[in-house]
Each structure stands twice: as structure tokens, then as C-alpha cells.
């Protein structure tokens, strides 16, 4: 499903973020990406939805090298990948319903289907009753649930989360993790970069540790392994 072959990334400022990295992730897996700050976790994550391109190497999604994907086709790649961020990245001028609906409007879905589908996922994340509220009126956990709803509304096969619990308190973080477990159980691949030791150690999944732009550890059901 996702395959990186000798992915090397050097930024224009000379920093080498990924140093010839190889990895393979199968459909339906739940993968934690751990490692110290600046180790290349974010770049690794950004490769998957073509926010960054490898300087060299192959970045295969479904057997296709997305490093070679033309810019105007990138939107179509992103429609099949849900992304969730630490800072939620909700559209501040749109309410909860509209934020989620946006991902479907982009693919020019029929209004009736949009309505049904949006209410369905809002129900799933438990925010149906707050559909008319704006992001600033919600707590961090609620905002993250909206962003999760948006990322799954067009049933992507892959979900990418960059520190999704980074801004949340422990209780809320567990709520969010429950949602991820639920999404993963329907067969969606989840790739999650995190610094949260408790979560990684308790909800055991495959752990990939990145340091200095290379994978230093890759263990199914592994532990967090860092002290921070």
C-alpha cells in the first residue's frame, strides 16, 4: 500500500531530513511514528500526501510513485488520504457542518449525499448537536473531532495524523484515540506521528522510530522507548 524506497530529502537550507529511508506499510495497519523532535517525523508524514517531495528515491502509494505526480493531480491524491493535525486546521469562518462538508464539496458530491454523510460522521464523533457552531466556540478536543470527521467523510483508505493529541489533555486524548481505533477497525490504514508515551505503550501497535532521518527501530506492538 505505502512503500518508501531510499527516500532522501534535503531541504534548500541544507538540512537532510530523510537519509535514504525504506519502509513498507500495509493496508489496515495502525502505525505510530516516534522519535525526537527534528528527527524527520514530520517530513516522513508530509511525503505521504505530497506536501513534500523526496529529493531522490521512490514514494509509492498503491504502487504509483507520487513523487512523480503532476501538481495538478495532487488534489486527487489528497482526496483519498485523510489528514489530521496537531492544530486541527479547521476553516475558521465555516461552522462545524460546513467544515466537514467542505471535503465533499471539493469532490463535487451531490448536496443530498453531502448532508447525509456529514451528519453521519458528525454523529460518529459525537458532535451532531454542535453542527452549527464555529471552531472558536469549541474546545480543543471537539475541534480535533471535527477535523477527524472531515478526514474520514469521504472514506479514505489512509489516514495520516501528525501529533493529533499534542494540544489535548490526557482524557480528551483517549477519546480521540478511541475514534482512531474505531476508524482503524473498518480497515483504514492509520499512520500517526506522536510524542505521547502513555498512548503508545498502552494501545499497542506497530512502532516506527525515526532518528537522524533513518528508521532505527520498527517493531510490531513495540513500546514508545523514549523517556520524554
Amino acid at each position: 500500500m505505502i512503500q518508501m524506497k531510499n527516500v532522501y530529502k534535503k531541504y534548500p537550507n541544507g538540512i537532510v531530513a530523510l537519509n535514504g529511508l525504506n519502509v513498507e506499510i500495509d493496508q489496515g495497519e495502525f502505525v505510530y511514528i516516534v522519535g525526537p523532535s527534528g528527527a524527520g517525523k514530520s517530513t516522513f508524514i508530509k511525503m505521504m500526501y505530497r506536501e513534500e517531495r523526496p529529493s531522490s528515491g521512490q514514494m509509492l502509494v498503491d504502487g504509483k510513485d507520487i513523487a512523480k505526480l503532476k501538481n495538478r493531480k495532487v488534489p486527487f491524491l489528497r482526496r483519498d488520504i485523510g489528514v489530521v493535525f496537531q492544530d486541527f486546521k479547521l476553516l475558521p469562518r465555516l461552522n462545524v457542518y460546513e467544515n466537514v462538508a467542505f471535503a465533499l464539496e471539493v469532490i463535487e458530491e451531490k448536496p443530498r449525499i453531502i448532508k447525509d454523510r456529514v451528519m453521519e460522521v458528525l454523529d460518529m464523533v459525537g458532535l451532531k448537536h454542535k453542527a452549527k457552531m464555529f471552531p472558536r466556540e469549541l474546545s480543543g478536543g471537539e475541534q480535533q473531532r471535527v477535523s477527524i470527521a472531515r478526514s474520514i467523510v469521504n472514506t479514505p483508505k489512509i489516514m495520516i495524523a501528525d501529533e493529533p493529541t499534542g494540544n489535548l489533555d490526557p482524557d480528551t486524548s483517549w477519546d480521540i484515540m478511541n475514534l482512531f481505533e474505531q476508524i482503524n477497525s473498518t480497515g483504514t490504514t492509520i499512520i500517526m506521528a506522536t510524542h505521547n508515551r502513555e498512548i503508545v505503550n498502552k494501545l499497542r501497535h506497530r512502532v516506527i522510530a525515526i532518528e537522524g532521518g533513518l528508521i532505527v527501530r520498527d517493531a510490531a506492538g513495540g513500546d514508545y522507548g523514549y523517556e520524554d
Binding site: 502509494v61 498503491d62 479547521l90 469562518r93 471535503a103
Partner: protein, 305 residues
């Protein structure tokens, strides 16, 4: 997976365009004071441009009227018989650059003089000292001198008068006026475009993250762009309402006040209709163009996410 998506971006669905229109209108409301700031900037500049265009067009009209009043008075020599005069008329009319040549006999000339200066002059009816005359207009008023010289070279011409020296000064003055006006209008237009697109850019820069997010969830560039462009268009339209209203009102008052006082004068102001509708259309078109252009230019650099 993404390969199963349509490879070619099909023409935007009408439904989607409807969505863009709705979005752009909603965005106007939600952007509150940003909308207000942009509309104000558009309003002020379009008002300036509108009033200025109004003034310049009228000055141009006055200049045209003055120029068109310039004519050549051709005195026919006394030796010319009727036959020669007829020939002469044809020759003059046939010259290039001649718009019209009106013949007036010396008797008619005297009648005009008597009308202008009083009965005493009717004494001259016994022995009329005047000449038969052609009044010639040049197609291009500014070519009057050349045309006059051509006529003077013909046979049976006693003299040619066209306000030598004076009309050159008039033309120079009018030409300078026109050029200054043109430069001022262009400068004003340029400033207006700059000011407005800058204001629009500020509103779009403030929404940079929005554009990033849209692209992250898989919006194509056009999907992001169209609502912004429509929003720019609405800003332009909203901003042109007050200038159009004021310009129409102002010109109505001006023509009401000035026209009776100018009746019978050499020059006239432009008629209220259709002139003021043309100015209104110009203001609206400029507003729309500037709004769209401003949005388009400003959004360009944020789309490379």
C-alpha cells in the same frame, strides 16, 4: 486508489458554480470589516476616477467645439465670373482635408454685417466694397493651416483668412490640455488599481491558512480560486454603487445649472444622456475588472501548497 479518480478535470458542474456563488456571498458577510475596507477603497477611487473622467470628457468636448468653430474665410477675387466661382467651389470641395465649403455672395455678406453692426452700414448697398466669400471647414481642424495654404494657391483667390497665429496657439493649448488630462487619468487609474488590489490582497493574505487547508483536503486550484474571484467581483460591484449614484446626481445638477447659461454659445457640455450612462458603465466595468484582477493576482502565490 487515486488513479480511479477522473484523470481529466471535467468542466465545473453548474451545481459547483452555484456553490461558489453562495460561498463568495457568504464570505462577504463573514469577513465583515475586511469587506467594508475593500468596498470603501473601491468606492473612493472609483468616485475620483468617475468625477475626473466626467471633467476630462467635458473639457475635451469644449476643446472639440472650439476647434470645430475654426474656419477658413476665402475671399474670391473680383475678376471671377459666376462660371469661375462655380469651378472654384468644385476645386475647393475637391481638395483633400476639406470638410465643407459654403459660398456666400457679397450681398449676403453685407446683409450679415448690417444685422451685426446696424443700419448705418446699409449705405454701402450703393457700392458694395465686400468680396464674395467661401467659408471652408477642414475635416481635421488641426489641419486648417495646410488646407488654407492649398486654397491660397488656387486661381481667382484674393485672400485667405483663418486666424493665423491665433489658432496655432489655441490648438497648442488644447493639445497640451488633452495630454495632461490623459496622463492624469492614466495615473489615477493606475493608483486606483494598485490601491484596490492591495486592499484585496490584504484580505486574501489574512486567509492564507484557509487556502492551505482547502488544498490539503484536495481542492483543485480552480475550486479555491473561483470563490475568491467572485468575491472580488462583488467587492467591485458594491464599490461602484455610490460613485455611480453620486456621478449621476452631480451631472444632473451641473447640466441643469450650466446648460441654460450656455445656450447659443460656441461650446456646450455633453448631453446628460447617453454620456452619464457611459460613465456609469465605465465605473461599473472598472470596479468589476479591478476586483477580479486584484483577487486573481493576490491568490496566485498562495496556491502553490
Amino acid at each position: 486508489m487515486y488513479a480511479t479518480q477522473p484523470e481529466v478535470i471535467t468542466a465545473m458542474k453548474i451545481r459547483t458554480f452555484g456553490r461558489h456563488i453562495k460561498e463568495s456571498l457568504k464570505s462577504l458577510g463573514r469577513n465583515g470589516w475586511m469587506t467594508f475596507a475593500s468596498v470603501s477603497a473601491v468606492t473612493v477611487t472609483l468616485l475620483l476616477v468617475g468625477v475626473f473622467v466626467m471633467i476630462m470628457m467635458n473639457l475635451n468636448k469644449v476643446a472639440d467645439d472650439l476647434e470645430n468653430d475654426v474656419e477658413i474665410k476665402v475671399f474670391v477675387s473680383l475678376e471671377a465670373e459666376e462660371e469661375q466661382i462655380a469651378e472654384l467651389e468644385e476645386e475647393i470641395s475637391g481638395l483633400s482635408g476639406v470638410e465643407s465649403a459654403d459660398f456666400s455672395t457679397k450681398e449676403e455678406e453685407l446683409t450679415d454685417l448690417v444685422l451685426d453692426f446696424g443700419e448705418e452700414l446699409s449705405l454701402f448697398e450703393q457700392s458694395n466694397p465686400l468680396f464674395d466669400v467661401f467659408y471652408v471647414k477642414a475635416t481635421e481642424p488641426q489641419q486648417t493651416e495646410a488646407v488654407a495654404n492649398d486654397i491660397a494657391a488656387l486661381e481667382y483667390i484674393e485672400d485667405v483668412e483663418y486666424g493665423e497665429g491665433k489658432i496655432e496657439k489655441l490648438f497648442n493649448f488644447l493639445n497640451a490640455g488633452r495630454n495632461v488630462g490623459l496622463v492624469l487619468i492614466l495615473a489615477l487609474l493606475f493608483t486606483a488599481m494598485f490601491l484596490i488590489s492591495n486592499t484585496i490582497r490584504i484580505t486574501i493574505v489574512a486567509r492564507r491558512t484557509e487556502i492551505e487547508i482547502m488544498k490539503l483536503v484536495g481542492a483543485t486550484n480552480w475550486f479555491v480560486r473561483v470563490p475568491f474571484i467572485l468575491e472580488g467581483m462583488w467587492l467591485g460591484i458594491l464599490g461602484s454603487i455610490i460613485p455611480i449614484g453620486l456621478v449621476v446626481l452631480l451631472y444632473q445638477k451641473i447640466t441643469e445649472f450650466v446648460q441654460p447659461r450656455l445656450s447659443g454659445e460656441l461650446f456646450q457640455l455633453l448631453e446628460f444622456s447617453p454620456f452619464i450612462y457611459q460613465v456609469s458603465a465605465l465605473i461599473l466595468a472598472m470596479g468589476v475588472f479591478i476586483g477580479i484582477w486584484g483577487s486573481f493576482m493576490s491568490i496566485r502565490k498562495f496556491l502553490r501548497v
